[in-house]
């Protein structure tokens, strides 16, 4: 489990506070979503979680190990347990899909080149890119690039998988495919998956543990079944921003769905 305690993050030499006293838990073997509007601090939170930013205050505990107190060497070790899917996929342009997936294996595993290739092929097959192993990222569609990036992220059997806006730039159908893939991988390999998104379809599709960040503050914590009927104005403004979800709320009210009790 990853636990965040009283996290503060400042920018511009300490004059601009982006995260205010955030505390949250991200559970093992579950799809944990960080949701919120653009500019709310989601990406900053994720970058703190993976150690790309160092918070000014607070703790980030990976199964009890505080990464904010780790030196570069210790951080490097823990990063071998992390896979990350970036918003723009971040595949290496000069390498094929196979080269990209083999890269972490080549750098950090003791496998022979044949074993690396075998493992990479398994990951590529797992994300349904079997015929595209020899293609370069520029030859792939957005959805295929995301799948290739997922294959690379899971190559070293990570304990933790971070995804920054996995559906950005994808059509709704491809988004569902990616969401489903992330859900399947999380449960198949028992990974702690943390997804940063503002896509409500993802929230309703795969959100097992949802953390709502609003203007840098922790706004709400719950599950996808609890999110519909909350007395939280900021959360409701976010959830019911689209006509589709306003219609869902109307439908639920017309058909007598009751509020769900939530423990914070």
């Amino acid at each position: 489990m990853i636990e965040v305690k009283n996290l503060d993050k400042f920018f511009d030499g300490g004059t601009r506070q982006v995260l205010h006293n955030i505390s949250a838990k991200f559970y093992d073997g579950k799809v944990n979503l960080i949701i919120g509007q653009s500019g709310s601090g989601k990406t900053v939170l994720v970058k703190n979680l993976v150690g790309l930013f160092k918070p000014e205050n607070g703790e980030i505990l990976y199964d009890g190990r505080d990464i904010t107190l780790m030196n570069r060497k210790e951080l490097k070790e823990i990063r071998k347990e992390i896979g990350m899917l970036f918003q723009g996929s971040a595949l290496f342009d000069s390498e094929t899909v196979m080269g990209n997936v083999m890269f972490p294996l080549m750098m950090f595993s003791d496998m022979t080149p044949e074993q690396q290739r075998e493992r990479a092929q398994f990951c590529i097959d797992r994300v349904n890119l079997t015929g595209s192993a020899d293609k370069y990222p520029a030859e792939l569609s957005g959805g295929m690039q995301k799948r290739a990036a997922i294959a690379r992220a899971i190559a070293l059997n990570p304990k933790y998988l971070f995804c920054d806006e996995p559906n950005s730039g994808l059509d709704p159908k491809t988004s569902i495919v990616i969401d489903q893939l992330l859900w399947d991988i999380t449960h198949e390999f028992d990974i702690t998956t943390i997804i940063n998104t503002h896509d409500m379809n993802s929230v309703m599709g795969i959100g097992e543990n949802i953390i709502f960040v609003n203007k840098g503050h922790l706004g709400w914590v719950g599950t996808k079944d609890e999110i519909y009927d909350q007395d939280n104005e900021d959360l409701n403004n976010f959830v019911y921003a689209t006509d589709l979800f306003r219609d869902v709320r109307k439908y639920r009210r017309q058909h007598g769905y009751t509020k769900t009790k939530v423990e914070y």
């Binding site: 990063r79 970036f86 723009g88 971040a90 595949l91 342009d93 972490p104 750098m107 971070f162």
Partner: protein
Amino acid sequence: MFFTKGLEAFGNYCTLMWRSFGVPERWKEFFRRYLNEISKLGIDSIPLILIVSLFIGCLCTILIKLNMQSPLLPRYTVGFSTREIILLEFSSSILCLILSGKIGSNIASEIGTMRVTEQIDALDIMGVNSANYLIMPKILGLVTILPFLVIITMVTAMFGGWAVCYTGILDPDTYIYGIQTDFVEFDVWFALIKSLVFGFVISSISAYYGYTVKGGSVEVGKASTDAVVMSNIMILITDIVLTKLLLM
């Protein structure tokens, strides 16, 4: 303000260089990248060098001949002066100024694009020392290949000067005699030493500008331009320092 910013940039540059020069994660991968950089930055520059050197050699000979018409000067002075210009300045400094445009922008834009497309973040997340992985092979690759490019430049430029003599401006044998007159071996070593320093200057400064870029494609383009400008300025400054230290 300008001084503080410059000092901060220099500090960041030194920190990046410190991070870059560590023990590689995987030696095999390092050598693969190192050889690839030698090929990309050095071998691929040979056609440009050949063309530029050949023409500069020709021009040097023609212009020196035109400007040394005095009967008091021996005819072989043309060959002698051409050699001195080529060995002392053109083969190292001017060549590196030319190459900084090609190689510097290549390095800055490649690393800058990797930065803005989060490929460097991806390396860091994986636990790879991205500075070491990306920058060290480029610096060592360029420092390795540049002395060879300097030698190619010397030979080609002097050949160009000799070839242009056949147009009738000078007796080729007099030119050959001129380039052999009062030859000081250290002049060649001087050019080679300068090329090692310039190789480091071009690759490290360009890598710094690429690695620290923030924003998008516009900023990558600006970083490329800044890298070339700053590399050129630093080449000229170090040229003066090295000339003063090694020749005076």
